[in-house]
Symmetry: C2
Subunit: 632 residues, 2 copies
């Protein structure tokens, strides 16, 4: 009986959290499954995935070099954790299901390949032969393939579904670039024009193709046009038409195709989710159902239902549970049918904001004082419109003071004054409002305020203490103080009504953006690993004015605009600078790397642009568009 209830609770919980795992239903397996879903184990898994990814910081080429055996030891620990997790999963679900699921096979292959790579690498390292840790590109795939990466897998599926249509447009787009390149070769190739760096202009077909591809991203505009334009104004027409067709029309068509597929796929996903959710709830119902006299359909009694909900969500208050029951059992019959039962998963997800007028703690402590006329007057004042306006004014004045010179003692000391004012505001609000209501989950701005102000206070105190004791202020602490000081000003947008809709939408889509963050990390990580193997050490950054600075330590870049513009730190020499370079490539596809390696290195950059800008960024834009359409 208890075990059946537990099984039903697991079904409901899975439905509530959109989990979709076919676990075995023996009591033993169910308990194992509950353990599998335990938040601690999930957090632990994510922690080790993170550690595994972060190993790139200490591996060659390293930001913080450590001995190879140390990083490999940590990696072995990670691998064993992943293996343990996989074995746990294998125990939870039926054997045949386990082997049929490509996710599991994928993880298994990744683990094996990593192990093989580690052995080879270790052996070669021991004999001092240069070798490549090629299995590192597989690491981010673990993020996708573990059962918890549901959202991420969905994003990848959505990309895969859009691919055929994207491919059509992409081929046409490439055809367009080829045609324009051929035309450029015929029009400009024989004119003897020179680029700004004195090289022949538009004489090699493949280089033209690459240059025009980069022009689509607008990264080399107007440089690529200038030699032709300087020769004759008429040639500008070629580039204007090129940009109109390829940058504006084709890029819009890409967005249209991606957006269209995204919407279609989203609908299909939602339908699927609703279906599996219903399926799980029906199963739970089948376990708990009983037949009553005079009723054709089986029902679930209030008692069973209560036990079930208590198992599913232990922290639910009695009142809340009764509320949910009264919603389900509308006719107050003491039992509910299948239809009402199935709704439970959704009901549990609804956040009931308890607008209970709980008395203020101060009121309980001393009612006469808290309810006295001056106290009441104070509470009313704090909640008045003028109070908000006064503080908006204070924020504006504060903004001016922040902009002024820190050297001035008046300005420096004013900080204490403003900090006091902000603290006073929070305290006054806490006086006027019940603290638990003030810090309820949906009050984003109260949390924001308190965290920022308290951190600023702590940082300012530490900074002042260090200055008065050691006579110097730490640059890092000062940076934090400054940042917090400016962040304080953001609060002003909440009091302007027209901004609130936009901000709330942005806050609401925040969690989903984390999926995109993961997606970007997976893709960036793979490109960073490949890029580090291909390009590490080719470009050097020199901090001081060493002679190598003018060529980024590579004679091929001597007098290049890459070195002149001081881009030397944009390199693949460690994982952090690789990631930052990839961000830059996402924004504008500028790359001096083809000068220091083979021209075919351009393929790396074109591939990156196709995957990140044409596909992922467009999906991101589609996502923001859709989110705003739903909100507005």
């Amino acid at each position: 009986q208890k075990e059946e209830l537990e099984l039903a609770a697991v079904y409901v919980s899975d439905a509530q959290h959109n989990r979709n795992i076919f676990f075995e239903t023996q009591p033993q397996a169910v308990r194992l499954y509950l353990l599998y879903n335990h938040w601690l184990l999930v957090v632990l898994l994510y922690f080790f995935i993170m550690v595994n990814l972060l190993l790139a910081v200490v591996e060659q080429p390293a930001l913080l070099p450590v001995p190879t055996w140390a990083s490999m030891l940590v990696e072995l620990v990670c691998l064993s954790v992943f293996s343990g997790r996989l074995v746990h999963y294998a125990k939870v679900i039926p054997r045949d299901k386990f082997w049929k699921d490509p996710k599991n096979l994928c993880i298994l292959v990744i683990l094996l390949l990593t192990l093989v790579d580690m052995i080879i690498y270790g052996a070669l390292k021991a004999t001092d032969i240069y070798s490549v840790r090629w299995s590192r590109v597989l690491r981010p795939l673990l993020l996708v393939n573990f059962t918890e990466g549901r959202q991420l897998r969905r994003a990848f599926r959505s990309i895969r579904n859009a691919l055929p249509q994207i491919l059509s447009v992409f081929l046409l787009f490439i055809f367009s670039i080829l045609i324009f390149s051929l035309m450029a070769l015929k029009l400009f190739g024989k004119r003897g024009l020179k680029t700004n760096s004195g090289k022949p202009y538009f004489t090699n077909f493949l280089e033209i193709v690459f240059d025009l591809y980069v022009l689509v991203t607008t990264a080399n505009s107007p440089d690529i046009m200038m030699p032709a334009y300087n020769a004759s104004s008429f040639f500008a027409v070629f580039f204007v038409i090129f940009i109109l067709i390829n940058t504006y029309i084709f890029m819009s068509v890409f967005l249209a195709v991606v957006y269209n597929n995204y919407k279609k796929y989203l609908k299909e996903e939602v339908r699927q989710l609703v279906r599996t959710k219903r399926h799980k709830m029906v199963r739970a119902f089948a376990i708990l159902q009983e037949r009553r006299e005079g009723l054709e359909e089986p029902v679930v009694s209030h008692a069973f239902w209560n036990q079930l909900v208590r198992l599913v969500q232990a922290d639910l208050s009695h009142a809340h549970r009764e509320l949910l029951w009264s919603v389900a059992d509308q006719h107050n019959q003491g039992y509910i049918g299948k239809l009402a039962f199935v709704q439970l998963a959704d009901l549990l997800n609804i956040q009931v904001i308890a607008v209970k007028s709980r008395p203020h703690p101060l009121q309980r402590w001393s009612p006469s004082l808290y309810l006295s006329t001056p106290s009441r007057w104070l509470c009313r004042a704090v909640q008045h419109r003028v109070f908000v306006m006064v503080y908006d004014l204070i924020i504006l004045v504060n903004a001016v003071f922040i902009g002024l010179d820190e050297e001035d003692p008046l300005v420096r000391n004013s900080e204490w004054f403003f900090l006091a004012l902000y603290l006073l505001e929070i305290l006054l609000k806490l006086y006027a409002m019940e603290p638990r209501a003030f810090y309820s989950r949906h009050n984003f701005w109260n949390w924001f305020d308190t965290i920022i102000i308290v951190s600023a206070l702590v940082a300012t105190i530490i900074n002042t203490a260090m200055t008065s004791v050691g006579g110097y202020s730490s640059r890092q602490i000062l940076d934090i103080v400054f940042t917090l000081r400016v962040l304080r000003l953001i609060r002003v947008v909440d009091s302007i009504k027209r901004f609130r809709v936009i901000i709330n939408t942005l806050i609401k889509i925040g969690p989903t953006m984390l999926t995109f963050a993961q997606l970007i990390i997976v893709v960036y990580y793979i490109f960073a690993m490949v890029g580090m193997e291909l390009f590490q050490g080719r470009i050097q950054f020199f901090d001081s004015d060493s002679p190598g600075k003018l060529s980024c330590g590579n004679p091929a870049l001597q007098d290049s605009s890459f070195a002149q513009l001081n881009y030397c730190k944009n390199n693949f020499n460690n994982v952090v600078s690789s990631f930052i370079l990839l961000v830059e490539l996402t924004v504008v596809n500028q790359c001096g790397f083809t000068a220091v390696t083979h021209p075919s290195a351009r393929l790396f950059f074109i591939l990156f642009h196709i995957i990140v800008v044409i596909i992922i960024i467009n999906i991101f834009v589609a996502f923001v568009l859709e989110a705003f359409f739903v909100e507005y």
Copy 2:
């Protein structure tokens, strides 16, 4: 009787072409109105608007300088044409309607202001005082305000409707930039960092705001980040967050808001159009209606209907007219009611593609020859799949030959061979297909082929003739020959099925894109006029290696990257280079102009970015998105 019929025909014609003018209904006025809508007068008006706009080419600062009196004489002619058109319009519509319409007042004010400006300018010019032709910025507004600029007005209305919501997002966006700027000032201002050109880095708040605004457009990425990034990798976080929020999220939100409004407005516009169309048709019906015995509702007889349609569209064939009538009079009663009558405007707009199997002219000339077995076999061969594939292969081979070196006599002479093949293809197709069907309006690619091939033939013959007679080939003719030769290759996409959908959609949205072209011309023209007055002569372009080349003729640009990158031709010294510069600014907001004038000149560039990139380009993207959603 005849006059009533004419009036009804005007109503139907207006409904058919979505015209919406409240003309007077006296026979005299109706005839005047018909004249007003005559295509010759409309073309004449557009011609003179074009001439008026093109005056900027010959006015100071001129591309082709002419005496001031000449350009002013032409402008006077334009003004009188516009006045005549306005007077004509005033005679057509009721007096009170004329004065209530802001369009007419706007034109009147523009004409008067232009006249005043011309007089002042002429007087000042005569006394050799420098003066500004400020009324030139008003010229493009004529394009909007004449009654024919309906589409353009709709586009402007759609922008105006989106403005309040755009403004909300824009203010929030500016707030975000201000906050980031303040943070940048506090974090980087006191570090003593230097930009690549040796100036202090991020020390002036207003300059930071401008630099970060430009960073949103990605034009100065990664330059703006490098000094901070070189100082510490940690600071890259600031820029990554900045770009994420402002470039990706805010720009997507702008697109969402613009797109949302565009869709909403489009629906409203279409509803309005349908309403006015119906209204016009009901009026026409009221004129022609008659009462018949035994019928409650008035009707229109077949005879009247026939006369009406003949008046509205004289070139309609008898068969086509009968087809329309049979659609309207479904029960073959000899008369139609109001409901059937109202549909006429839409029926007339439907293009009936006559799939009449008209005999081939050759068949009529010599049936026995054309219908002989070899002839039939030839026709079947031409229409066979293999024929298309053979020609696709020829195109590919041709592409390779185009890419090869022209110096080689084999390559040069192969051109004749390919030209002959393409001509043969067209002739064969014309042999197999009825010529009028081959060149029917919807056969875009047949028209394209024929025009390109015939032009290429003519240009190649001229080129060869010039080479063999004069011994030299004209560069211009050669450019045309090369361009046509490459354009020929485009045809290959039509035979690939997956491309056809995309291409057809693009061809279909082509005409509507002309509205955007006009919109862009209006905005560009105004900015070009203002820009020319503000910046003319500040930056000079030197063709030869004169000493001024290194500073673009302005000491302020000595050793600047603007001069080093050879951007000197990007200037506002005449209307053509202004337009090209504005295209470049649309693509990336790069501007060296603030160096040579006051820093406040930046406002010009920011304003341009807001209007063109944030508003117009987004509307264009929204338009392409919507068009593709409808097609797919």
